[in-house]
Amino acid sequence: MGIGVYQLFPTDNSSIQQILSLIFYAIFFFYLFFGQQLQVQRILLSISGALNKIKDAHDRSKREIIDFLQKNGYNGDAVSHVNTLIEYFTISPVDLDPTGLVKKIEHILSVRDERIRSEVRSMLPEKDALTISILENLLEISAALNVYYKVVRHYYLIGKKTSNLYLLMQLQMVLPDLLREVEALVSAIEPIKNAQPIGDGIGPMVAGRLLLNNEKKQIARDTIFGEVNYKNRILYVIKAEGPAGNVGQPGNAIEYLINNYGLKPAAIIMIDAALKLEGEATGEVAEGAGAAIGGIGVDKYKIEEIASRNNIPLYAIIIKESIVEAITCMTKEIVEAIPKVLNRIDYLLENRTREGDSVIVVGVGNSIGVGQ
Protein backbone atom coordinates (compact mmCIF):
# COMPACT_ATOMS: atom_id res chain seq x y z
CA MET A 1 0.00 0.00 0.00
CA GLY A 2 1.72 3.18 -1.15
CA ILE A 3 1.43 6.68 0.31
CA GLY A 4 0.14 9.13 -2.20
CA VAL A 5 0.94 12.84 -2.39
CA TYR A 6 -2.81 13.45 -2.08
CA GLN A 7 -2.53 12.37 1.55
CA LEU A 8 -0.68 15.65 2.27
CA PHE A 9 -3.81 17.55 1.21
CA PRO A 10 -6.54 16.25 3.52
CA THR A 11 -10.02 16.39 2.16
CA ASP A 12 -11.78 15.82 5.45
CA ASN A 13 -12.50 18.66 7.80
CA SER A 14 -10.36 17.39 10.70
CA SER A 15 -8.63 20.45 12.24
CA ILE A 16 -5.80 18.29 13.67
CA GLN A 17 -5.01 17.05 10.19
CA GLN A 18 -4.89 20.62 8.88
CA ILE A 19 -2.60 21.81 11.71
CA LEU A 20 -0.24 18.90 11.12
CA SER A 21 -0.06 19.70 7.41
CA LEU A 22 0.67 23.35 8.17
CA ILE A 23 3.49 22.37 10.55
CA PHE A 24 4.89 20.01 7.93
CA TYR A 25 4.92 22.75 5.28
CA ALA A 26 6.43 25.27 7.68
CA ILE A 27 9.30 22.91 8.54
CA PHE A 28 9.76 21.92 4.90
CA PHE A 29 10.07 25.52 3.66
CA PHE A 30 12.16 26.59 6.67
CA TYR A 31 14.75 23.89 5.88
CA LEU A 32 14.56 24.67 2.18
CA PHE A 33 15.52 28.31 2.69
CA PHE A 34 17.37 28.39 6.03
CA GLY A 35 18.78 24.85 6.33
CA GLN A 36 22.31 25.87 5.38
CA GLN A 37 22.38 28.77 7.85
CA LEU A 38 21.15 26.42 10.55
CA GLN A 39 23.94 23.95 9.75
CA VAL A 40 26.51 26.80 9.75
CA GLN A 41 25.35 27.88 13.22
CA ARG A 42 25.49 24.30 14.52
CA ILE A 43 29.06 23.79 13.19
CA LEU A 44 30.17 27.21 14.48
CA LEU A 45 28.93 26.22 17.93
CA SER A 46 30.88 22.96 17.94
CA ILE A 47 34.05 24.66 16.58
CA SER A 48 33.82 27.43 19.17
CA GLY A 49 33.76 24.76 21.92
CA ALA A 50 36.90 23.17 20.49
CA LEU A 51 38.52 26.58 20.02
CA ASN A 52 37.94 27.36 23.71
CA LYS A 53 39.64 24.08 24.65
CA ILE A 54 42.66 24.94 22.47
CA LYS A 55 42.78 28.45 23.98
CA ASP A 56 42.69 26.99 27.51
CA ALA A 57 45.51 24.61 26.57
CA HIS A 58 47.56 27.45 25.08
CA ASP A 59 46.97 29.72 28.10
CA ARG A 60 47.89 26.90 30.47
CA SER A 61 51.15 26.21 28.64
CA LYS A 62 52.08 29.90 28.92
CA ARG A 63 51.17 30.00 32.61
CA GLU A 64 53.36 26.94 33.23
CA ILE A 65 56.34 28.62 31.52
CA ILE A 66 55.89 31.81 33.52
CA ASP A 67 55.61 29.79 36.78
CA PHE A 68 58.71 27.80 35.81
CA LEU A 69 60.67 31.00 35.11
CA GLN A 70 59.61 32.60 38.39
CA LYS A 71 60.41 29.43 40.39
CA ASN A 72 63.88 29.48 38.86
CA GLY A 73 64.54 33.07 39.90
CA TYR A 74 63.71 35.09 36.77
CA ASN A 75 62.78 38.63 37.81
CA GLY A 76 62.18 40.29 34.42
CA ASP A 77 58.97 40.76 32.45
CA ALA A 78 58.27 37.05 31.91
CA VAL A 79 54.97 37.53 30.01
CA SER A 80 56.36 39.71 27.22
CA HIS A 81 59.58 37.65 26.98
CA VAL A 82 57.61 34.40 26.68
CA ASN A 83 55.23 35.93 24.13
CA THR A 84 58.17 37.03 21.97
CA LEU A 85 59.72 33.55 22.04
CA ILE A 86 56.40 31.79 21.34
CA GLU A 87 55.82 34.00 18.30
CA TYR A 88 59.34 33.30 16.93
CA PHE A 89 59.01 31.98 13.38
CA THR A 90 61.20 30.24 10.82
CA ILE A 91 61.00 30.90 7.07
CA SER A 92 61.65 27.82 4.92
CA PRO A 93 64.24 28.37 2.17
CA VAL A 94 63.09 28.63 -1.43
CA ASP A 95 62.72 25.21 -3.09
CA LEU A 96 62.54 26.32 -6.77
CA ASP A 97 66.11 25.07 -7.12
CA PRO A 98 66.31 22.09 -4.75
CA THR A 99 70.09 21.67 -5.03
CA GLY A 100 71.64 22.27 -1.64
CA LEU A 101 68.24 22.71 0.01
CA VAL A 102 69.06 20.47 3.02
CA LYS A 103 72.17 22.56 3.76
CA LYS A 104 70.05 25.73 3.73
CA ILE A 105 67.39 24.17 6.01
CA GLU A 106 70.12 22.99 8.40
CA HIS A 107 71.62 26.48 8.48
CA ILE A 108 68.29 28.19 9.18
CA LEU A 109 67.34 25.65 11.87
CA SER A 110 70.70 26.01 13.58
CA VAL A 111 70.33 29.83 13.57
CA ARG A 112 66.87 29.44 15.13
CA ASP A 113 68.03 26.92 17.77
CA GLU A 114 71.01 29.06 18.74
CA ARG A 115 68.86 32.19 18.96
CA ILE A 116 66.22 30.52 21.17
CA ARG A 117 68.86 28.86 23.36
CA SER A 118 70.81 32.09 23.89
CA GLU A 119 67.58 33.89 24.76
CA VAL A 120 66.65 31.16 27.26
CA ARG A 121 70.17 31.21 28.74
CA SER A 122 70.01 34.98 29.16
CA MET A 123 66.78 34.55 31.14
CA LEU A 124 68.26 31.90 33.47
CA PRO A 125 72.03 32.52 33.32
CA GLU A 126 72.86 30.59 36.49
CA LYS A 127 70.94 27.45 35.61
CA ASP A 128 72.27 24.09 34.38
CA ALA A 129 71.73 22.46 30.97
CA LEU A 130 68.77 20.42 32.26
CA THR A 131 66.79 23.49 33.38
CA ILE A 132 67.59 25.31 30.13
CA SER A 133 66.44 22.32 28.07
CA ILE A 134 63.20 22.01 30.09
CA LEU A 135 62.41 25.65 29.35
CA GLU A 136 63.27 25.15 25.65
CA ASN A 137 60.95 22.12 25.46
CA LEU A 138 58.14 23.96 27.27
CA LEU A 139 58.51 26.87 24.85
CA GLU A 140 58.28 24.47 21.91
CA ILE A 141 55.03 23.03 23.29
CA SER A 142 53.59 26.48 23.83
CA ALA A 143 54.66 27.64 20.35
CA ALA A 144 52.95 24.59 18.80
CA LEU A 145 49.74 25.26 20.78
CA ASN A 146 49.93 28.91 19.71
CA VAL A 147 49.98 27.88 16.04
CA TYR A 148 47.06 25.45 16.52
CA TYR A 149 45.03 28.12 18.31
CA LYS A 150 45.70 30.86 15.77
CA VAL A 151 45.07 28.69 12.71
CA VAL A 152 41.79 27.25 14.06
CA ARG A 153 40.66 30.72 15.15
CA HIS A 154 41.53 32.10 11.68
CA TYR A 155 39.35 29.56 9.84
CA TYR A 156 36.59 29.83 12.46
CA LEU A 157 36.39 33.62 12.02
CA ILE A 158 36.61 33.44 8.20
CA GLY A 159 33.87 30.79 8.21
CA LYS A 160 31.73 32.90 10.51
CA LYS A 161 32.26 36.07 8.50
CA THR A 162 31.46 34.49 5.14
CA SER A 163 29.01 31.81 6.42
CA ASN A 164 31.03 29.39 4.30
CA LEU A 165 29.55 26.00 5.17
CA TYR A 166 32.15 24.02 3.21
CA LEU A 167 35.11 25.73 4.88
CA LEU A 168 33.57 25.12 8.32
CA MET A 169 32.78 21.49 7.47
CA GLN A 170 36.43 20.88 6.54
CA LEU A 171 37.57 22.43 9.81
CA GLN A 172 35.04 20.35 11.75
CA MET A 173 36.30 17.18 10.03
CA VAL A 174 39.92 17.69 11.10
CA LEU A 175 39.04 18.86 14.63
CA PRO A 176 39.02 15.42 16.37
CA ASP A 177 42.60 14.69 15.17
CA LEU A 178 43.69 18.21 15.99
CA LEU A 179 42.24 18.02 19.50
CA ARG A 180 44.04 14.72 20.05
CA GLU A 181 47.33 16.44 19.20
CA VAL A 182 46.48 19.38 21.46
CA GLU A 183 45.67 16.93 24.27
CA ALA A 184 49.02 15.21 23.71
CA LEU A 185 50.87 18.53 23.89
CA VAL A 186 49.07 19.53 27.10
CA SER A 187 49.83 16.15 28.66
CA ALA A 188 53.50 16.61 27.77
CA ILE A 189 53.85 19.71 29.99
CA GLU A 190 53.91 17.84 33.30
CA PRO A 191 56.57 15.19 32.41
CA ILE A 192 58.79 17.77 30.69
CA LYS A 193 58.56 20.12 33.68
CA ASN A 194 59.58 17.27 36.00
CA ALA A 195 62.25 15.94 33.56
CA GLN A 196 60.56 12.53 33.32
CA PRO A 197 61.33 10.31 30.32
CA ILE A 198 58.77 10.50 27.50
CA GLY A 199 57.76 7.73 25.07
CA ASP A 200 60.05 9.17 22.37
CA GLY A 201 62.98 8.56 24.76
CA ILE A 202 62.96 4.80 24.23
CA GLY A 203 65.76 5.03 21.61
CA PRO A 204 68.14 6.91 23.97
CA MET A 205 67.12 4.49 26.76
CA VAL A 206 68.26 1.46 24.74
CA ALA A 207 71.49 3.26 23.76
CA GLY A 208 72.04 4.29 27.40
CA ARG A 209 71.66 0.65 28.46
CA LEU A 210 74.44 -0.35 26.04
CA LEU A 211 76.62 2.55 27.24
CA LEU A 212 76.31 1.71 30.96
CA ASN A 213 79.74 1.61 32.69
CA ASN A 214 81.53 2.76 29.50
CA GLU A 215 83.32 6.02 28.82
CA LYS A 216 81.25 8.63 27.00
CA LYS A 217 82.50 11.56 24.87
CA GLN A 218 80.78 14.49 23.21
CA ILE A 219 80.70 14.08 19.42
CA ALA A 220 78.26 16.72 18.13
CA ARG A 221 76.02 19.37 19.68
CA ASP A 222 74.08 17.77 22.58
CA THR A 223 75.21 14.35 21.32
CA ILE A 224 77.51 11.80 22.99
CA PHE A 225 79.00 8.49 21.93
CA GLY A 226 80.87 5.62 23.54
CA GLU A 227 82.88 2.59 22.36
CA VAL A 228 81.40 -0.63 23.68
CA ASN A 229 82.85 -4.14 23.32
CA TYR A 230 79.82 -6.31 22.77
CA LYS A 231 79.61 -9.84 21.39
CA ASN A 232 83.19 -9.53 20.07
CA ARG A 233 82.27 -6.48 17.98
CA ILE A 234 83.03 -2.82 18.68
CA LEU A 235 79.82 -0.85 18.96
CA TYR A 236 79.93 2.91 18.55
CA VAL A 237 76.81 3.88 20.46
CA ILE A 238 75.37 7.36 19.83
CA LYS A 239 72.61 9.11 21.75
CA ALA A 240 71.46 12.61 22.65
CA GLU A 241 73.06 13.86 25.84
CA GLY A 242 70.75 13.29 28.81
CA PRO A 243 69.12 13.75 31.19
CA ALA A 244 68.47 17.11 29.52
CA GLY A 245 65.73 17.23 26.87
CA ASN A 246 67.85 17.04 23.72
CA VAL A 247 67.47 15.19 20.44
CA GLY A 248 71.09 15.78 19.48
CA GLN A 249 72.56 15.64 15.98
CA PRO A 250 72.91 11.94 15.09
CA GLY A 251 73.57 12.82 11.43
CA ASN A 252 76.60 14.95 12.31
CA ALA A 253 77.77 12.30 14.82
CA ILE A 254 77.75 9.50 12.21
CA GLU A 255 79.44 11.79 9.64
CA TYR A 256 82.14 12.62 12.20
CA LEU A 257 82.77 8.95 13.07
CA ILE A 258 83.13 7.96 9.41
CA ASN A 259 84.86 11.04 7.95
CA ASN A 260 87.07 12.18 10.86
CA TYR A 261 87.45 9.02 12.92
CA GLY A 262 88.11 6.87 9.83
CA LEU A 263 85.54 4.32 10.92
CA LYS A 264 84.38 1.70 8.39
CA PRO A 265 81.31 0.26 10.05
CA ALA A 266 79.83 -3.06 8.92
CA ALA A 267 76.36 -1.72 9.70
CA ILE A 268 74.41 1.18 11.14
CA ILE A 269 71.57 0.17 13.47
CA MET A 270 69.05 2.87 14.32
CA ILE A 271 66.54 2.53 17.16
CA ASP A 272 63.60 4.91 17.32
CA ALA A 273 60.01 5.23 18.49
CA ALA A 274 57.54 5.14 15.60
CA LEU A 275 53.90 6.09 15.39
CA LYS A 276 51.64 3.04 15.52
CA LEU A 277 48.51 2.60 13.46
CA GLU A 278 45.19 2.27 15.30
CA GLY A 279 44.82 -1.35 16.41
CA GLU A 280 48.57 -1.98 16.78
CA ALA A 281 49.85 -2.69 20.29
CA THR A 282 51.99 -0.14 22.16
CA GLY A 283 55.54 -1.36 22.66
CA GLU A 284 55.45 -3.69 19.65
CA VAL A 285 58.95 -3.98 18.14
CA ALA A 286 59.50 -4.21 14.39
CA GLU A 287 62.60 -4.37 12.24
CA GLY A 288 63.26 -2.91 8.81
CA ALA A 289 65.76 -1.17 6.57
CA GLY A 290 66.48 2.56 6.28
CA ALA A 291 67.13 5.53 8.51
CA ALA A 292 64.74 5.42 11.49
CA ILE A 293 64.63 9.10 12.38
CA GLY A 294 61.92 11.76 12.26
CA GLY A 295 62.18 15.51 12.30
CA ILE A 296 62.46 17.87 9.37
CA GLY A 297 64.80 15.54 7.47
CA VAL A 298 68.30 17.02 7.83
CA ASP A 299 69.70 14.14 9.93
CA LYS A 300 67.86 11.55 7.85
CA TYR A 301 69.36 12.99 4.65
CA LYS A 302 72.88 13.00 6.09
CA ILE A 303 72.64 9.42 7.37
CA GLU A 304 71.17 8.08 4.11
CA GLU A 305 73.79 9.99 2.12
CA ILE A 306 76.79 8.69 4.06
CA ALA A 307 75.42 5.13 4.28
CA SER A 308 74.76 4.90 0.54
CA ARG A 309 78.07 6.57 -0.40
CA ASN A 310 80.03 4.07 1.72
CA ASN A 311 77.72 1.12 1.01
CA ILE A 312 76.93 0.59 4.70
CA PRO A 313 73.78 -1.43 5.45
CA LEU A 314 71.26 0.68 7.35
CA TYR A 315 69.02 -1.29 9.73
CA ALA A 316 66.08 0.14 11.69
CA ILE A 317 64.42 -1.13 14.83
CA ILE A 318 61.24 0.69 15.80
CA ILE A 319 59.10 0.66 18.93
CA LYS A 320 55.46 1.43 18.19
CA GLU A 321 53.49 3.99 20.16
CA SER A 322 50.76 6.58 19.64
CA ILE A 323 51.37 10.33 19.24
CA VAL A 324 50.10 10.88 22.81
CA GLU A 325 52.41 8.16 24.20
CA ALA A 326 55.37 9.56 22.24
CA ILE A 327 55.32 12.96 23.94
CA THR A 328 53.90 12.11 27.37
CA CYS A 329 55.48 10.24 30.28
CA MET A 330 56.78 6.80 29.29
CA THR A 331 54.46 3.83 29.84
CA LYS A 332 55.29 0.39 31.20
CA GLU A 333 54.55 -1.24 27.82
CA ILE A 334 57.20 0.92 26.15
CA VAL A 335 59.79 0.20 28.88
CA GLU A 336 59.10 -3.53 28.47
CA ALA A 337 60.16 -3.26 24.82
CA ILE A 338 63.83 -2.68 25.83
CA PRO A 339 64.78 -6.40 26.19
CA LYS A 340 63.02 -7.15 22.88
CA VAL A 341 65.04 -4.40 21.14
CA LEU A 342 68.28 -5.70 22.68
CA ASN A 343 67.42 -9.19 21.36
CA ARG A 344 66.91 -7.76 17.87
CA ILE A 345 70.28 -5.97 18.08
CA ASP A 346 71.92 -9.27 19.17
CA TYR A 347 70.29 -11.06 16.24
CA LEU A 348 71.43 -8.41 13.73
CA LEU A 349 74.97 -8.43 15.13
CA GLU A 350 75.21 -12.23 15.02
CA ASN A 351 73.65 -12.65 11.60
CA ARG A 352 74.59 -9.54 9.65
CA THR A 353 78.09 -8.74 10.99
CA ARG A 354 81.23 -10.72 11.83
CA GLU A 355 83.38 -10.84 14.93
CA GLY A 356 85.81 -7.91 15.07
CA ASP A 357 83.51 -5.66 13.00
CA SER A 358 82.68 -2.11 13.98
CA VAL A 359 78.99 -1.26 14.15
CA ILE A 360 77.29 2.10 14.76
CA VAL A 361 74.21 1.94 17.02
CA VAL A 362 72.09 5.08 17.28
CA GLY A 363 69.37 5.60 19.90
CA VAL A 364 67.19 8.27 18.29
CA GLY A 365 64.78 10.45 20.30
CA ASN A 366 64.43 13.01 23.06
CA SER A 367 66.69 12.18 25.99
CA ILE A 368 64.74 14.02 28.68
CA GLY A 369 65.04 12.07 31.94
CA VAL A 370 67.41 9.55 30.34
CA GLY A 371 71.07 9.65 31.36
CA GLN A 372 73.88 7.51 30.05
Partner: protein, 63 residues
Protein backbone atom coordinates in the same frame (compact mmCIF):
# COMPACT_ATOMS: atom_id res chain seq x y z
CA UNK B 1 48.53 16.12 39.15
CA UNK B 2 47.48 18.55 36.44
CA UNK B 3 43.88 19.70 36.01
CA UNK B 4 42.00 17.81 33.35
CA UNK B 5 41.32 19.94 30.29
CA UNK B 6 39.86 17.11 28.26
CA UNK B 7 36.98 14.85 29.21
CA UNK B 8 38.04 11.26 29.88
CA UNK B 9 41.71 12.14 30.43
CA UNK B 10 43.15 9.52 32.79
CA UNK B 11 45.06 10.27 35.99
CA UNK B 12 48.50 8.76 36.49
CA UNK B 13 51.23 8.36 39.08
CA UNK B 14 54.87 8.13 38.03
CA UNK B 15 57.10 5.42 39.49
CA UNK B 16 60.86 4.90 39.52
CA UNK B 17 62.35 1.42 39.21
CA UNK B 18 65.74 0.86 40.81
CA UNK B 19 67.60 -2.26 39.70
CA UNK B 20 70.67 -4.01 41.05
CA UNK B 21 72.86 -5.04 38.12
CA UNK B 22 74.57 -7.79 40.20
CA UNK B 23 71.65 -9.66 41.79
CA UNK B 24 68.86 -8.27 39.53
CA UNK B 25 66.77 -7.15 42.52
CA UNK B 26 64.18 -4.57 41.46
CA UNK B 27 62.63 -1.96 43.71
CA UNK B 28 59.65 0.26 42.82
CA UNK B 29 59.09 3.62 44.50
CA UNK B 30 57.30 6.91 43.70
CA UNK B 31 59.19 9.23 41.32
CA UNK B 32 61.22 11.98 43.00
CA UNK B 33 62.36 15.21 41.32
CA UNK B 34 65.96 14.83 40.01
CA UNK B 35 65.46 11.11 39.30
CA UNK B 36 66.58 10.08 35.83
CA UNK B 37 67.18 6.79 34.07
CA UNK B 38 70.70 5.34 34.63
CA UNK B 39 71.31 7.58 37.65
CA UNK B 40 72.92 5.86 40.62
CA UNK B 41 70.31 4.75 43.15
CA UNK B 42 70.19 3.31 46.66
CA UNK B 43 72.37 0.48 47.97
CA UNK B 44 70.92 -2.95 47.17
CA UNK B 45 69.33 -4.49 50.27
CA UNK B 46 70.24 -7.99 49.08
CA UNK B 47 73.89 -7.76 47.94
CA UNK B 48 75.03 -4.28 49.06
CA UNK B 49 76.08 -2.94 45.65
CA UNK B 50 74.86 0.35 44.23
CA UNK B 51 71.63 0.06 42.24
CA UNK B 52 70.77 2.15 39.17
CA UNK B 53 67.49 3.68 38.11
CA UNK B 54 66.56 1.39 35.23
CA UNK B 55 63.17 2.87 34.35
CA UNK B 56 60.72 5.66 35.08
CA UNK B 57 57.16 5.23 33.84
CA UNK B 58 53.58 6.18 34.58
CA UNK B 59 50.91 3.93 36.01
CA UNK B 60 47.21 4.61 35.74
CA UNK B 61 45.54 5.56 39.03
CA UNK B 62 42.56 3.35 39.77
CA UNK B 63 39.92 4.61 42.19
Amino acid sequence: MANRLFKGQKQFKVVTIEECLSCKLKMKRPFKINDYVYKEGEVCQKCGTKMIISAIYKEELKY
